[in-house]
Amino acid sequence: MTLTDLALYIILPILSVALILAVSRLIRGPKMPDRVVALDLMVTLGMGLIAVYAIATDQAVFLDVATVLALISFLGTTAFAYYLQRRPEA
């Protein structure tokens, strides 16, 4: 089994299932903080998916997308936390 096979047939399905679980938490999440954490987890999983896809397709350019996503998702989560702190009733 090559690294590409491993990425395509094992790692990608696992990450996809994790993504589905995170989406279900995003939809069900009883409170706003649950949804924010689910969204943050989805971005992290997306970074993992991009990295695995970069390995599978042998395209190093995709890793830069993951880098941008990592930098921006921190900003997004922080902005949500700021919003939640000011509107705790939501």
């Binding site: 350019v61 830069d64 880098t67 941008v68 921190f74 922080t78 902005a79």
Partner: protein, 143 residues
Amino acid sequence: MTSLILSAATRLILPLMMLFSVFLLLRGHNDPGGGFVGGLVAAAAFALYAIAYGVDRAREAIRIGTIPLIGIGLLLAFLSGMVPLFGNRPFLTAVWTNLSLPIIGRVNTVLVFDTGVYLVVVGVTLTVIFAMAEADIEEDEED
């Protein structure tokens, strides 16, 4: 709002974001990237600074203000378009010189145009973000 964890993390992440935005700008000609994405990443870095330290300090960090950034960017893009006119070629034709510099490579008008786009994107995005953040703060004070 000031949080020690957030301001410490911002001090680490902000230089990284600025470095990455310049990296995206410089390699945009041959690979994915360019002035627009680079400008968005730089604007995100300043937005993070505004969340961590407040809008006023973020405005101070951009010394010349956000509106002048738009003007300088547009001027740079326009001037880079003017250069080929002196060689009797159409407006905005790419002009490449044989002068080579480290990191950025051959001197050309494409990079100048992209830098103009970069500055315009940073200026417009931050003008909107700061205006929205300040409106939000004022709304809170009225409550």
